[in-house]
């Protein structure tokens, strides 16, 4: 019995050691492989159709876009679904992941902490309400209960309109939960990116939902690739982004996901 226990313990320790050594070896292979560096992108893949998981495979507009950019730049890369918080911290440090691609809007406040690529996507926020609602613009939301995904630009915009400490502005962990809150009657409206809202309305025709665009209060915003401060990647990838926008590759990807032509002129002049 005593011998068995000792043996089991040694086996356990051995497995643990091997695992740790294995992890270490993998990390080394990841960052220093021969034939050029592999750039590791982090993403929060819970934002269909921009980036989402189809079982264990990461998909979406952003993924196709970054594949095209990296091909143009002639570099190897991987995209890993790390979740939002891990993406933010690890990209800030720049060691485990050298960049983030996750529909991250470019804002002045965020530029204090990160560098961004040139804009690669134009978006706006959209209000979603149930049919028959008396809400027609963003300002109507002032004294209503509004659900958003926390830490998004929808959160920023509504914090500006309703006050950041207003508890009627309900911040959820994901857009999916904000949408459930609207359906269950706990909120009068959801504010989210136009692509998300349109996707949701399209997928749930029975729930009688309407999307409201308010160009006056919700201006255009632009997504950028997230880099650590002072990253050398920006100089390498910005020309590649520009090239694929100009040579039609970008338009092709855009049409595949959204079924319409993008306004690339706006994108190129937005930087």
């Amino acid at each position: 019995m005593g011998w068995n226990k000792k043996w089991a313990m040694s086996a356990f320790v051995a497995v643990l050691t091997l695992t740790l050594v294995g992890c270490g070896a993998n990390n080394n292979a990841g960052s220093g492989s021969a034939g050029g560096e592999t750039i590791k992108f982090a993403s929060d893949a819970s934002y269909a159709p921009m980036e989402y998981m189809d079982t264990d495979k990461i998909m979406g507009f952003d993924i196709d876009f970054i594949n095209a950019v990296m091909e143009e730049a002639g570099m190897e890369h991987t995209v890993t679904n790390t979740g939002w918080d891990t993406m933010l911290t690890s990209v800030q440090q720049g060691t485990d992941y050298q960049a983030g691609i996750s529909s991250v809007s470019i804002t002045e406040e965020r530029k204090e902490t990160y560098d961004y690529s040139i804009p690669y996507f134009e978006s706006t926020n959209m209000i979603m309400v149930k049919e028959g609602s008396d809400i027609t613009s963003a300002l109507d939301l002032k004294d209503k209960v509004v659900a958003v995904q926390g830490a998004t630009t929808a959160d920023d915009l509504m914090s500006g309109i309703m006050g950041i400490d207003n508890t009627n502005l309900r911040r959820f962990d994901s857009n999916a939960m904000a949408l459930m809150e609207l359906n269950a009657g706990g909120a009068d409206a959801v504010v989210a990116d136009i692509a998300i809202v349109n996707e949701y309305i399209k997928n749930n025709p029975n729930e009688k939902l309407t999307g409201i665009i308010d160009k006056e209060n919700f201006g255009s915003e632009y997504y950028g690739i997230l880099y650590p401060k002072g990253s050398e990647l920006k100089a390498k990838l910005d020309p590649a982004i520009k090239t694929i926008i100009e040579n039609g590759k970008y338009t092709e990807i855009y049409k595949k996901w959204f079924g319409e032509e993008p306004d690339t002129a706006v994108l190129l002049s937005a930087e």
Binding site: T89, T113, S159, E181
Partner: protein, 215 residues
């Protein structure tokens, strides 16, 4: 690493409001939870197996599933079913109370069963009814033994209430997430939240030590 105290200072007032919410929800839930728990604990000690069964199932369900899932089920399922719409305050009280009741029930049961059966027999042989024996002989001794366990349960509940941020209850983690959203910074909001929880639970455990020495 740069650490921005200015944004913490900016958020301090709302963090204080969040702290009050956390304390309020925890106190109400531990109170409702212990009342429910007392009933469920007695139910689990019922002499007939058929009566024990529902209480047994209740305890197993709430101890055997994560509070994370329970909060989601209560918020998006149970509350809309009974109340018509979701309501975050109701969710907070209901989810935490139901969860706490399961643990309280076990604390009550263990406390009562830890009293030597001889005590009960002696009380009965003195002519007390079963109820009197429980009320005057067993419970006073048992409750004394339950105090540390209840203290632990309360501390766990304060920390677990952070999961309510999941459904946007305006407690400490909710404001921490809000702060993260505004600045896209991790350390300041999370360390502030951690510090507040630590202060809460540390002072609570000091208070409980004091109470334990008194009873």
């Amino acid at each position: 690493m740069d650490f921005r105290f200015d944004i913490i200072a900016h958020y301090l007032p709302v963090f204080l409001r969040g702290t009050l919410f956390t304390i309020g929800v925890s106190i109400v839930s531990i109170l409702i939870g212990s009342v429910l728990g007392l009933g469920i604990g007695f139910g689990k000690m019922a002499p007939k197996a058929i009566f024990r069964w529902p209480f047994h199932t209740y305890i197993n369900f709430f101890r055997g599933t994560p509070l994370y899932v329970q909060i989601l089920i209560v918020h998006f399922g149970v509350i809309p079913a009974f109340y018509g719409t979701t309501n975050v305050l109701l969710t907070s009280f209901v989810a935490l109370s139901l969860n706490s009741a399961a643990y309280s029930a076990e604390i009550f049961r263990a406390g009562i069963q830890s009293i030597d059966p001889g005590q009960r027999e002696a009380a009965l042989s003195l002519g007390m009814t079963k109820w009197q024996a429980m009320r005057f002989i067993i419970l006073p001794q048992a409750i004394k033994r339950m105090v540390p366990a209840f203290g632990n349960e309360f501390i766990v509940l304060v920390k677990d209430s952070s999961l309510l941020a999941l459904v946007a209850a305006p407690e400490i983690m909710f404001w921490s997430n809000t702060m993260k959203g505004q600045y896209l910074r991790i350390w300041e909001p999370y360390l502030t939240a951690a510090l507040i929880y630590f202060i809460l639970t540390y002072s609570l455990s000091k208070l409980l030590n004091y109470i334990e020495r008194k009873v």
